[in-house]
């Protein structure tokens, strides 16, 4: 489902990933581990088509990203849900509108949008808060709102960057359970964390990164 072949990603002045090859199969749940700065976020962004590799190839859904134009890449992104470390919520609109954004981008209209948005909010337990503005939500609620937005398009791939980062352990456990439940209904899940213990409940495979390369 996602294939990395000898992928290198350079930013001006530093190399974030070096010669990484790995594969994530359909329906798998994979955890990416490593210290901060090991290249976890870069790996996830490349796997979601949010960025392009400097060298090597990334293939998602059988499509080589290097061969895709900007428009095709944007359209591909609609089939992948991404939970951002910094949430990237829009603070000028309520919870409902934040979750509806990917649907509006994809051209969905009124009733279908509302149905899907409420289904997503229900899954993360925020159905009662659809009118709330993001500032009125707690950190954990903002995290769940971001997850609701990531799943509203019913993606076959769900990627989460440090979803348990700033949460206390009970809350983190509930979030991890949520991802496990998505995986159980067939969604391919890729999740990153610098804290191995928070991933104890997660079964599945691990991809360990050290200084931008796969750990031996």
């Amino acid at each position: 489902m996602i294939q990395f072949s000898a992928v290198t990603k350079r930013y001006p002045g530093r190399e974030a990933l070096h010669d990484v090859s790995c594969e994530i199969g359909s329906g798998e749940l994979v955890a990416v581990t490593g210290h901060s700065g090991a290249g976890k976020t870069t790996l996830l962004k490349l796997a979601a088509g949010l960025e392009r590799a400097t060298a090597g190839s990334v293939v998602i859904h059988g499509q080589n990203l290097a061969a895709l134009g900007e428009t095709a890449l944007a359209v591909l992104r609609r089939r992948i849900g991404f939970v951002f470390q910094d949430h990237k919520l829009l603070f000028d609109r309520n919870a409902f509108e934040n979750v509806a954004l990917p649907l509006r981008v994809a051209g969905f209209t009124g009733s279908e949008t509302a149905r899907r948005v409420r289904a997503s909010l229900d899954k993360v337990g925020l159905l009662e808060r659809e009118k709330a503005m993001p500032v009125a939500l707690s950190g954990g609620e903002q995290q769940r709102l971001c997850i609701a937005r990531a799943i509203v398009n019913r993606p076959s791939i769900l990627i989460a960057d440090e979803p348990t980062g700033n949460l206390d352990s009970d809350y983190a456990g509930a979030i991890v359970d949520l991802f496990v439940s998505f995986n159980q209904v067939g969604v391919t899940v890729l999740i990153s964390s610098h804290d191995e213990r928070s991933l104890d409940r997660v079964g599945g495979r691990r991809i360990a990164l050290t200084k931008g390369a796969l750990a031996a």
């Binding site: 949010l50 428009t71 944007a74 591909l76 992104r77 991404f82 000028d92 954004l101 981008v105 051209g107």
Partner: protein
């Protein structure tokens, strides 16, 4: 197809929403653009008035040969072949004193005055089309014909009308240049206003792109915004120009009724209105396109 319509409908609705959400900013923007559009429109209206007046004037090079008042028609007829045989004369038309009086009565507002005269004050005359506009040759003609018997006056008075025609053509060109500059100014004004919109929506744009918005998706509402702004400004400009021209017309009518040629200030028809509206919308679209494209490239660089 339905998705396409949905996307455009949403973008247009979003643009209208943004316009409605900032009525004061929209109004001032629309007025600035409208003034930039109304100026060349007014100039065009005035110029059209002048050029239609000038078109009614005889601008072909010709010389009028007026005979003495006591010259008879027979004496005049004897002159005709001598004028006709001149190398520079293209054609000669005899205007009898009676015909001249009739013409004057019918083309001017002097009928009453003329009727009150006891006798016809006009002489027999010839209108000679000449083959040259060179002042020296015209002068030579005048001198030569002046010496013919019973000739009172030889007048070459087409020069001023020719000069007027030149001025009108000059005005046309100047107007085209000024119009072009002001159209460019409209593009920049719209571009600047849309740029501010893009900057205030930077986060929304960024997140939209992260969840799969293409460049076209991001651009679309801004393009509609530019189009609507241009359209509103075009209509406002027409209203502005119409008001000013109506105000001018009142004075001009009083002034021009004494002249033989009506100096008309007229205004645009429906086709012109639609053309100006569409033209302004197009300028708005271009301005929005240029500025959104530029800002998106800046965003991409900063990422």
């Amino acid at each position: 197809m339905r998705t396409w319509l949905t996307l455009h409908g949403q973008a247009a609705a979003a643009a209208l929403g943004r316009i409605a959400a900032q009525p004061f900013a929209t109004l001032s923007a629309v007025l600035v653009i409208a003034i930039a559009l109304a100026l060349p429109m007014l100039a065009a209206v005035v110029l059209k008035g002048v050029s239609s007046a000038a078109a009614g004037l005889d601008t072909d090079p010709h010389v009028n040969v007026y005979l003495a008042l006591d010259a008879t028609e027979d004496e005049a007829k004897k002159l005709e072949p001598r004028l006709r045989s001149h190398a520079d004369a293209a054609s000669v038309r005899f205007v009898s004193r009676e015909a001249a009086l009739q013409e004057l009565k019918s083309t001017t507002h002097l009928a009453e005055l003329l009727a009150s005269l006891e006798r016809n004050p006009l002489p027999h005359a010839f209108t000679v089309r000449v083959r040259t506009t060179e002042p020296a040759r015209i002068e030579a003609l005048r001198g030569e014909w002046q010496k013919l018997p019973k000739v009172d006056q030889v007048v070459a008075d087409f020069e001023w009308s020719e000069r007027l025609g030149r001025w009108v053509r000059f005005g046309d060109r100047a107007l085209a240049a000024v119009g072009l500059f002001l159209a460019l100014a409209v593009v920049f004004i719209v571009g600047h206003l849309i740029r501010l919109q893009v900057l205030t929506r930077r986060e929304e744009i960024e997140v939209s792109q992260l969840v799969g918005a293409t460049a076209a998706d991001v651009r679309r509402p801004f393009l509609y915004h530019g189009i609507f702004q241009g359209l509103l400004a075009g209509l406002a400009a027409v209203a502005l120009a119409a008001a000013v021209s109506a105000w001018l017309q009142y004075e001009l009518r009083a002034l021009t009724s004494t002249y033989t040629t009506e100096f008309k200030v007229f205004f645009i028809d429906w086709a012109g209105l639609i053309a100006i509206g569409l033209g302004a919308a197009l300028l708005g679209w271009i301005g929005a396109w240029v500025s959104v494209g530029r800002e998106l490239r800046q965003f991409a660089k900063g990422r």
